[in-house]
Every structure is written in structure tokens, then in C-alpha cells.
Amino acid sequence: MHNDARLRALAARRTRFAVTLTIAMIVIYFGFILLIAFKKPLMGGLVAPGLSLGILLGALVIVASWVLTWLYVRWANSYYDRELAEIRR
């Protein structure tokens, strides 16, 4: 029974983390889209010769996707897998 409680706690924890990361991705991507839609002059402004804020943020959306997946995989490979291994025992 103790095992079941531990699994439920782990499940809740994973769901919380997964939902947080999903919301982060939604905010980042739709924030980018809404900036393009409503702040066109700002996004067209140059932050360096040849580099507009829009291009920079577009590339950063891709980088953010990498970082978020990396955060999850790091958490899952260490904490989540270890907990699962102990629950299985």
C-alpha cells in the first residue's frame, strides 16, 4: 500500500512538472506570435546590423524548445527513473 501512495505522489509530481513545462512552451510560442501580430515595428527593429529582434526571438523560440525538453529529460533521467526503480522493488 505504501508503494501505491508513493506512485500516486510521483504521478502527481510528474503531471505538475509536465503541465508547467507545457504552459511555458505555450507562453513562449504564442508570445512570439502575438508580438509579431501586434508589435510589428518593434519586431522589425534591428538589435545588431543584419539582425532584427524578430529573427533573434524566432531563433530563441527554437533554443527554448531545446532547453525545455532538456530540463524534462534531465529531471526524468535522474529523479523520476530513480523513484520508479524504487517503487518497482
Binding site: 507545457t22 510560442y29 506570435i33 509579431i36 524578430g54 529573427i55 531563433a59 532538456w70 517503487i87 518497482r88
Partner: protein, 531 residues
């Protein structure tokens, strides 16, 4: 020269001498043919090897669960990066600049969602199709039928877009007739799936992903070598010639609601694409499924960053006038760029890569459609799970041939039609019919069979209906003056609608078996079938 392409070139008013530029595109290209035959020979060799290993349904649908996380990462990337993204986005960037980049980011952001919410539970709960997961604690027959409808709708629209695109592109690049191109694609694809099942399909995807990533990288490095290996110098050159406007948002996001709606279809549709979801069953366990998404996200993101370079490279080195004179849609930007940097041999290589790309994607789609027909409809619904392994394998193969023939016929039927919207339609159906059902059935104790089934059906039907009423069909295709529904992509409405219907109907009905099984299913979501 091939007659239609010649006519197209002549039909475009010449904007000065710069437009009349020699290109080998559209002429039979010995190098392209050579690379193409090498690709076909290698993939058929793989298929022969895979056919000998394909004995059970587990081999046929799931490659015997023997694919490693790294291999599956490449295969996922191969399944996902279609010729549309390689040729289409490069073309869009080369003719519109920044606006094209909006797509580059949109196509990637679905992958983190797949990882966080779907990949591991799917691997732990299912066997071959995503319907296995939805049906884990709900009643088999209605769930399987609704899921098969969602799967087939997604697969068919995606297939039509790929086949029609394939016919047109191959005609343009190799000078084959449209019908010949479709039949060649259909035959090769049926051969891979029919004989080699998932093992062959996976390795075709891996070969294709390596070729596509390699080809795009070589092309990008060659572009950057002209600009002192600085992307900023490249963007600056584009801005100097065409104005700072090419680095800024233009007309593409004229209607913010349209952009958000398309964004929602891309973000949540990826997590509902049957051929992508099926790939998670090919790895040994949930941990490998997790790692494979991580690799795929890295590869796909890298590829879309490449499209920044290729698009602006083609804008500066080939010029939009030349690109649109060869193909009005701009699809030939990357091949033209290859030709201007590496001559006819490199054009041939890139053309063959584009062909390989199309072939691999249609093979993956066909296999997932065949699994819905045979595993979900025939074995689980018609035979109530009582089919011998030999019969299951036979039905899977018959379904493959049937679906392959249908794909070829639809490709020919839709010749010359504007089918570009069908890819985003496929994503919208996947996002509205398949994704909510997966999420509700995995995570929500209170959901009922009736709730989830209605959600899937409403998701599919409302998406189809709203697309039909959208400006894309009413104004662009049927040439009416106005459209009843204002958005080009319906996901903004249909995803919330499908969730709402699933939740409300679940709350109004009861399904004691579904809630009784929740604890057991939750355990399996984390620990797998063996835990």
C-alpha cells in the same frame, strides 16, 4: 525541356535579363537520376533485409521494439521533416524573408508537448496504435471506431498533400510526367511497407533524415562561406538589397487570430499525428521513447534553423525573381540555390534528397493508416480481438496495399488542385480529434467512453466542416465572395470545442468500469505493462 515547365517559364513576364538564367531544373538530370537509383537500390536492399526479419505483427507494426532511442530520434525527424518544410519554407523565406521564419518555429514547438504529455504514457499503455491507449480503460468497439476515423482522416489528407506535392515536384525536377511520378512513389512506398513493415520504414526514415540533414547542412555551409561564415552578414546582404523589410514581419500575420489558430494546430497536432505516435512503440521502453523525442527535437530544431540560412541564401544568391519564375510558389528555392553553388551535380543530389524525403513520409503515413484499418477496425472491432497472428499480419498487408493504391488514385484525382491547406487540415484534425482524446483518457479519472468518443467525433467533424466553410475553400478554391467562417485554420475553435464536449459528456454520463480501472492504468502509465 519538359513542356509544362517551359510554358511556365515563358508565361512569366521577364523582368529584365537577370530572369533569363540558365537552369537545369525540369530537364532530365543524370546526376539526380543516379542518386535517385542509388537511394532506391539501398532502400529496397534494406526492405529485403527487413522482410526476412518481419515474422510477427509486433515486427510489422513496431519493428519488434528493437529500435534504439538514437535511431528512433532520427526516424522521428525523418517522419516529420517533409519536403514541404524543406522546399516550402526555404521558398517562403526566400520570397518573403522574415514571414517564412514564422513557420520554421511553428513546426518545432509541438515536439516539447509530445515529450511532456504523450510519449512515455503512450509507450507504456499501448501496443501498436494510439487507439490502444484511449481504449485502455474504455469500451473497445466505439473507441476504436472513433479513433480509426480520426486516424484515417488525418492520414488521408496528409497523404493527398504529399502525393500531389510529390507529383508536381518530381515533374519539375526530373521531367517525369505527373502520373508516372505518383505511380513510382506509390510503388516504392508499398514495397517498403508491405514487405519490410516498420523495420524497413524506420530505416528508410533514418537514411532519409541523414540525407536531408546532411544535404541542408552542406548547402548552408556553402552559403555561409560566401559571407565569411556569419549569418548576420548574410541577413545584412539581404537587407541591403531588398530593404530592412525582409527582416521584419510583413503581411503574413495580418490577422492575429489566424496566426494563433494555425499555431495551435501545429503545436497540439504534432502530439496527435498517428504516424509519429506509432514510432514510440518501436523502442524497448518508455525511457527510450523519452530520449528519442529529445534527439528528434534537437535534429528538427537544427533543421529549421538551417532553413533561415537556406531561405536568405536563396534570396541573395538566386534572387526572388528567378525563384518565382521557375515555380510560382517558390518551392524550387533550395534546388536553385544548390545549382548556383554547386552546379548540376549538386542540384541532382538535392533533387534526389527531396524525392527521398517524400517517399519516406508517405511510407510512414501508409503504415499508420494500415494499422488503424487492420489492428483497430479489423482485429479489435470486427474480430473482437480474436484473430490469429497469421491472420493479423495478412490483414495488415492487405490494408497496406489498399491504402497505397488509394493514395495513388487520390494523388492522380487531385492533380492540379490547391492542396497546400491539407497539411494544416491534417494537423487540425490530429489536434482536435486525437490529442484531446489521448489527454482525457490518460490523465482524467472521470472521463467516460461516451465522453471521449463524442469528443473524437466532434473534433473530426467540426474541423472538416469549418475548413469547408473557411476562406481557404470558399474564397480561394470555390471563388465565392465571402466565407461563413473567418479563420483559415479552425484549431482555435475546434480544440477547445473537442475538450469541452469530452468533459461535459463525461460529466453527464457514468462509466464505472473506466473509473474502476483508473488506478491500474495510472500504474501502467508510469511503470509499463510489466510493472
Amino acid at each position: 525541356m519538359n513542356a509544362p515547365v517551359h510554358a511556365l517559364l515563358q508565361a512569366v513576364p521577364a523582368a529584365g535579363d537577370s530572369v533569363r538564367r540558365a537552369t537545369q531544373i525540369g530537364e532530365p538530370n543524370a546526376v539526380a537520376m543516379g542518386f535517385f537509383f542509388v537511394f532506391i537500390a539501398i532502400t529496397l536492399g534494406i526492405t529485403y533485409w527487413a522482410a526476412k526479419k518481419t515474422r510477427t505483427t509486433e515486427d510489422f507494426y513496431a519493428a519488434g521494439r528493437s529500435i534504439s532511442a538514437g535511431q528512433n530520434g532520427f526516424a522521428l525527424a525523418g517522419d516529420y521533416m517533409s519536403a514541404a518544410s524543406f522546399l516550402g519554407i526555404a521558398g517562403l523565406v526566400s520570397t518573403t524573408g522574415f514571414d517564412g521564419l514564422i513557420y520554421s518555429t511553428g513546426w518545432l514547438v509541438g515536439w516539447p508537448v509530445v515529450l511532456f504529455l504523450i510519449a512515455e504514457p503512450l509507450r507504456n499503455l499501448g501496443k501498436y496504435t494510439f487507439a490502444d491507449v484511449v481504449a485502455a480503460r474504455l469500451r473497445q468497439t466505439p473507441v476504436r471506431i472513433a479513433a480509426a476515423i480520426g486516424t484515417l482522416a488525418t492520414v488521408i489528407f496528409y497523404l493527398i498533400a504529399q502525393m500531389v506535392g510529390a507529383g508536381g515536384l518530381i515533374k519539375l525536377m526530373f521531367g517525369l510526367t505527373y502520373e508516372t511520378a505518383i505511380v513510382v512513389v506509390g510503388m516504392a512506398m508499398i514495397a517498403y511497407v508491405l514487405f519490410g513493415g516498420m523495420i524497413a520504414t524506420t530505416w528508410v526514415q533514418i537514411v532519409k533524415a541523414v540525407l536531408l540533414l546532411g544535404g541542408a547542412t552542406i548547402l548552408a555551409v556553402m552559403v555561409l562561406s560566401r559571407f565569411g561564415f556569419s549569418p548576420l552578414a548574410l541577413f545584412r546582404a539581404a537587407a541591403e538589397r531588398y530593404g530592412d523589410g525582409v527582416l521584419a514581419p510583413g503581411k503574413l500575420v495580418a490577422n492575429p487570430m489566424d496566426a494563433v489558430s494555425l499555431g495551435m494546430a501545429l503545436m497540439f497536432g504534432t502530439a496527435g499525428l498517428p504516424h509519429i505516435l506509432m514510432r514510440f512503440y518501436t523502442v524497448p521502453d518508455a525511457q527510450a521513447a523519452r530520449k528519442s523525442v529529445f534527439y528528434a527535437t534537437g535534429l528538427i530544431g537544427f533543421f529549421y534553423l538551417m532553413t533561415f540560412i537556406l531561405g536568405f541564401g536563396a534570396m541573395v544568391l538566386v534572387t526572388p525573381e528567378v525563384i518565382t519564375s521557375v515555380d510560382k510558389g517558390g518551392n524550387m528555392a533550395a534546388p536553385l540555390l544548390a545549382e548556383s553553388l554547386g552546379g548540376t551535380p549538386f542540384l541532382g543530389f538535392i533533387a534526389a534528397v527531396a524525392f527521398a524525403t517524400i517517399l519516406a513520409v508517405v511510407a510512414g503515413l501508409t503504415l499508420s493508416g494500415a494499422a488503424a484499418l487492420s489492428h483497430d477496425l479489423w482485429v479489435s472491432v470486427a474480430k473482437k480481438g480474436e484473430a490469429t497472428p497469421i491472420e493479423q499480419l495478412r490483414v495488415a498487408r492487405i490494408s497496406t496495399v489498399a491504402l497505397g493504391v488509394i493514395a495513388v488514385l487520390l494523388g492522380i484525382l487531385f492533380k492540379g488542385q490547391n492542396v497546400a491547406f491539407m497539411v494544416s487540415l491534417a494537423f487540425a484534425i490530429a489536434a482536435s480529434a486525437n490529442f484531446p482524446a489521448l489527454l482525457l483518457s490518460i490523465f482524467w479519472r472521470r472521463c467516460t467512453t461516451l465522453g471521449v468518443v463524442t469528443s473524437m467525433l466532434v473534433g473530426t467533424i467540426s474541423t472538416l466542416l469549418l475548413i469547408y466553410l473557411s476562406p481557404t475553400i470558399q474564397i480561394d478554391i470555390l471563388k465565392h465572395d465571402a466565407a461563413l467562417f473567418p479563420l483559415k485554420n479552425p484549431a482555435l475553435i475546434t480544440i477547445p470545442l473537442s475538450f469541452a464536449v469530452g468533459i461535459v459528456v463525461s460529466l453527464l454520463t457514468s462509466d464505472p468500469e473506466a473509473s474502476a480501472k483508473f488506478a491500474q492504468v495510472e500504474r501502467q502509465v508510469h511503470l509499463g505493462a510489466k510493472g
